[in-house]
Amino acid sequence: MNFGKQLKEGLLTQNPVLVQLLGMCSTLAITTSISNGIGMGVAVIIILTLSNIFISLLRKIIPNQVRIAAFIVVIAGFVTMVDLLLQAYFQDLAESLGVFIPLIVVNCIILGRAESFASKNGVLASAVDGVCQGLGYTAVLLVMSAIREFLGSGALAGIQIFPAEYGANMLVLPVGGFLVLGCLIALMQWALNKSGKGGK
């Protein structure tokens, strides 16, 4: 068990969004403001960790043929719980995330980790993996939503920094999501290439 290594993989070298290219839909759709980004990130960390723990506990019981269906049921259960909790205690957030909360069920990150990690590893390692991958996802959401909110509407976490009229409104629209994510992935490839060469 190597917590530091798993954390580094989750945040950088195996980042779910920037390197594994999973979970694009929610990343692009909800990163229009920092509060959305944090809310979604925390929801995914919780669901990913719980489902990883659960699936790793059940990994010897679930027959191989129906494992995907079983994983989806486990994940859908946790997503429903988080969805109801959000609606009860964070109504505003639940409304602005809208249909993307129930859509966490089909977020490829969660099913991907269940299939490639939790179904092969022990409970503790799977829990750590869930937290680390979730943190990596949240980090990307935070960076993207900060860029889009600041440059798009002149605010940071709801605090107005420069007047909204001067913002590039385009970045808050769908176009901005594609462009910012494209640039972030390019940056990541550049950094990985560079550090790879430096290592040799």
Binding site: L21, L22, G23, M24, C25, S26, L28, A29, I68, A69, I72, V73, A76, G77, V79, T80, D83, L84, V99, P102, L103, V105, V106, N107, C108, L111, M170, L173, P174, V175, G176, G177, F178, L179, L181, G182, C183, I185, A186, L187, Q189, W190, N193
Partner: protein, 195 residues
Amino acid sequence: MQISTLLDIALGAILVNNFIFIQFLGICPFMGVSKKMDTATGMGFAVIFVMGLASAICYPVNVLLVKLNLEYMQTVAFILVIAALVQFVEMFLKKSIPSLYEALGVYLPLITTNCAVLGVVLLNVQNDYNFIESVVYGITGGVGFLLAIVLFASIRERLEFAEPPKSFEGFPIALVTAGLMALSFMGFSGLSIPW
């Protein structure tokens, strides 16, 4: 029930609120299988088929859930229905229309985790569509997906010959392309049928 409302839904799903470019549903398969024109077309038709069918089947399921006061089970019920449906369609096609099965190939099972399918079902419930409206929304949403992925694949085939900066090679330049396409699709916003 008027034809005009149905046309409005169809226009909205294909152009104004395109699933890919405006609503961000189904980005994973959109990015994943758009490298070649023919696979993109296959995926597009598979999505139309499954989205229409899923809308039709999830409507009575939702009515049943509401009757039993189990609305909070929607997500779980819908994803199970979709997974079962995809499996069933796969077996059915394999037995009776092997040529179509061959054409769709590996894309059928992938559709289970396509968020556009679960998305369209959830949106049907959210918008209070009746049975016919749901089916129309499902099918035209799929048509919008097909349109987007075919256009995108044809651009991407040409991108192969372009020389972007090294860091932008592959995925990032595709995302930027998709961004520009989303920009052009924004031109449709506000479009509606004038009666």
